[in-house]
Amino acid sequence: MPDHLFFPLASLGVFLPLGLALVVWKMTSVEQARRWTAGALATSFAALLAAGLTVARAPEGRFTEPFWQWFAVDALNAVPLSLFTAMALGVAVLAPKGKLTPQWLAGLLWMCAMTNAAYAANNLVVFVAGWAGSLAPFILTQAFARPASSGTGDLGTAGRRALPASAQVMLAASLVSLCIGVALLVFAARGASLHDAFGLALVRKGDSWLLFAAFAFLMAAVVLRKGIFPAHFWVVTSFERGSLLLMTLLMNGHLGAFLIARIVLPLLPDVAHRAWPLFSNLGLFTAAYAALLALVARNPRRLFALVAVSQSAFLLTGMQSYTSVGIAGALVLWQVVAVAVTMMAAVYAGLEARLGAALDTTGFLGLAVGAPRLAVFFAAGGLALVGLPLTLGFPAEDLLLQGTLATNPYLGVVLPVVTALNAFSVVRLFARLFLGRPVPAAHDLADALPRERWVLTAALLFLLLGGLFPAPLIRLPALAAERIVNLVSGSVDSAPPH
């Protein structure tokens, strides 16, 4: 019997930004729009944090809303809900002022609301609606388009689009694939009540062709949205030519990974068990392929995108381990990748805004002379991303390695090698941007502004305190992982690492 939240906190986290998006869209003053956006996101964050704390007190529970059953919060989505809203809040505060528009902020609110809806979904319809809604500002509207008069910069460099056309096509394809997959999933449950067929509890046992087809379409949606090889190119292109901050947010929703953890593994355990290694190996190949490409990338945005794709692809390999350790590692790595990549993107976007152009890193720029704090934030984010001790990245990598090496030694050996390549790429990018003989412009560069300093410090503290005291941040993902393993195997952690 599900428990209830004491207040519709998840609904607040979804509908408040959604409602404010419509208000902010009509505003004319950017600063006013930013204040309203930040206020709405801060309130949503507080509500979702309260929901998360409720779950933390009774982590075995799955808490639905007191009045309706559209949304539920449990160990799997409690952290992503708060984290994503916090990241959206950070992006709203950090977004460079120069080319910001109220419509951009409205799009941000909309995307956050819809991503939260997908996370908190208590049935397949709400999940699909959330998935589709989170893509709408990119595909259907011009919310994220840059003003026609502006030059190149973070908020868009490809005509009037926030994303290149190819990226929009890929995202639309992921939506179509998801819809077909969910339709097949519902069809496979014919005979069950509508509530069960659309719910997230009915396990489809067996490995009929129908279930295989559903699995294939759902995984195709994951591959397309997450940017797994060969669909990674749209992520890289969008990072290069689109808005870095928005792409970071879109990518770090990790709705693809969430789809696997919430729907694919629990609802299709038999099919997933048979077909999953293919996707896991695809994830590993993507990680290695992107890491190698990053080694020779000269454009910082491209390098950044490739490292992000590579590290994100580890999530698939962790989930393939079918151990609570490996899956928990993947879920914690999700947090690390999300925060670290957003932090680095914010710093880089800030540098571009200051210098008025994308940067050339074929030589050293020496920007640390003018912006030492931005340099520290960038370095800390990068090192956390690749698993440096004293950051949350270390426990995440440790769990991931323990989980994968226990079930697949081949994966477990390749992972650290790929991480080492990514670490080199990140440090190379840091060195090119911030070290070396300073270009003249570097001396007059403004260091972190107060609003940047507070947001980036909060992100840094999350990574550092999470690294020093990881247990609270690992507890919920660990429980979620154990629940997934139990659902899949029907036993308590049937494949322990040792």
Binding site: A297, L365, D398, L405
Partner: protein, 466 residues
């Protein structure tokens, strides 16, 4: 005060000073040089006192080791990461040495980098290093050793690039980082394999009775783990064929060269092997491999060191040669001798590094006083070799034994070639479907354009709520 608390203070005190300096810097505090240096020196004096107290308690109690468990750092299912510290007759001397030499270097640095713009940064990193190396030596499990090991590595890179305005130190730092990360894979995978084979990496389980008893890791498992640990140790200790990074690391300020590459960091690899001695003893061929690597490195470093034209690089190769000998001692199982050798070598090399700048100054003064007629220092044994062989050896030494050439040609170049081919392939197939084209590889603004932004930037910075 209980021993668990004392052991934890070893790591928390320098870590706390580093955090204090870091937070202060982030908040914009302007601390004077003297309090920063005094705080650091005081911290390591307290740490040294704690270590001596622990050592005396160990001796008085007649125990083999002091073990302090602090529970699990985190746990998932059946896996847990234990937080445990450990002090015994191998780690205590090195802990004491670390605290003593770090304090010495802090005292020296106060004057050496006086008024340098990186003074504050140097002391912050020195404390981070101190915390990392003390954690490494006091760790009670191989898991926790990774933490200290990586912190030492990253601090090392940041200090090599200390003079960040020049490109050479930055290039060197990148090279060192690449070598470290490549070799650290050995430690990471080795420790994970320990968990896989015996379910733990805690010393009290793997090294019962302070390395005298048998380890539960046996046969091929022990061999696999030991070889991986050896890979990590070889990288950190600059042994062949990964020795090329050590002379490059000399780009950092002299005090950091002394503490890292003369005293402590380079000995971390040897300590790892000493700690893993029971696993090495239970494995096949690893001891022989350590012996061979040590021998090759000692000979190589001796020859190369004689062809070096500057003091710090000569000292780097001298360190490398001694480390080779320490590896030989470990390979032969002479643990006590290796430990004494590490301690003695660390002390003498720190002295040499710290003395090097003033010695050069003295030498130039002496040279001038002698009217530019200082006599040669004498002949070497290699003078007994045939002329042709001397020339060949000289050429070999000038290229530093071709180690870097070998790695560049047979490891780095193939990886880069593969990456470039993949990149061409990527452009070729993704361009028709709307992906990046090779023209997008070019950045949007060149450095020349950035130079031209200088005049307009001031206004941007002023008005930039960017």
């Amino acid at each position: 005060m209980n021993e668990g608390l004392l052991l934890s203070l070893l790591i928390l005190l320098p870590g706390g000073v580093c955090a204090l300096l870091g937070i202060g810097w982030l908040l914009g505090w302007r601390m004077a040089e003297r309090p920063v240096a005094r705080l650091t020196v005081a911290c390591y004096c307290v740490v040294l006192t704690i270590i001596v107290t622990l050592w005396l308690r160990l001796l008085a109690g007649g125990h083999a080791q002091i073990y302090a468990g602090y529970g699990n750092w985190f746990e998932v299912g059946h896996y847990h990461f234990p937080l445990a510290l450990w002090a015994d007759r191998i780690s205590l001397p090195l802990l004491a040495l670390s605290a003593f030499l770090t304090a010495i270097v802090a005292v020296f640095s106060r004057r050496y980098i006086h008024r340098d713009e990186g003074f504050f940064r140097f002391f912050m990193l020195l404390n981070l290093f101190g915390s990392g190396i003390l954690l490494f030596f006091a760790a009670g499990s191989f898991d926790l050793m990774i933490g200290g090991w990586e912190v030492v590595g990253v601090t090392s890179i940041l200090l090599i690039a200390f003079f960040q305005h020049r490109s050479d130190p930055v290039h060197s730092a990148l090279r060192v980082f690449a070598t470290y990360r490549a070799c650290d894979v050995g430690l990471l995978v080795g420790v994970v394999l320990m968990h896989l084979f015996v379910g733990t990496s805690e010393f009290k389980e793997i090294l019962p009775n302070n390395i005298e008893a048998h380890t539960p890791l046996l046969g091929s498992s022990a061999t696999m783990v030991a070889f991986l640990l050896l890979l990590a140790a070889v990288g950190k200790a600059a042994q062949a064929p990964f020795s090329g990074w050590l002379p490059r690391a000399m780009e950092g300020p002299t005090p950091s060269s002394a503490i890292f590459y003369g005293a402590l960091s380079v000995h971390a690899g040897a300590y790892l092997l000493l700690r893993a001695q029971p696993i090495i003893a239970a494995s096949s061929y690893v001891a022989e491999a350590i012996l061979l690597i040590g021998l090759l490195t000692a000979v190589h470093a001796t020859f190369v060191g004689r062809a070096c034209a500057d003091a710090k690089t000569s000292l780097a190769y001298a360190s490398m040669a001694q480390l080779g000998i320490i590896f030989i001692e470990i390979g032969l199982g002479w643990r006590q001798l290796a430990l004494w050798h590490i301690a003695g070598h660390a002390l003498i090399r720190t002295l040499q590094f710290l003395r090097a700048p003033s010695m050069l100054h003295d030498h130039h003064r002496l040279h001038a006083a002698a009217g530019g007629h200082l006599s040669a220092t004498g002949t070497h044994f290699e003078a007994l070799l045939p002329q042709a062989m001397q020339r060949w050896l000289y050429r070999l030494a000038l290229d530093r034994g071709h180690h870097d050439t070998f790695l560049d040609r047979f490891v780095v170049a193939p990886v880069v070639r593969l990456a470039e081919r993949l990149q061409r392939f990527e452009y070729r197939w993704s361009e028709p479907v709307g992906g990046a084209t090779s023209t997008h590889q070019q950045p949007l603004a060149s450095q020349a354009e950035l130079l031209s932004l200088k005049s307009s930037l001031k206004q941007k910075a002023d008005g930039a709520d960017a």
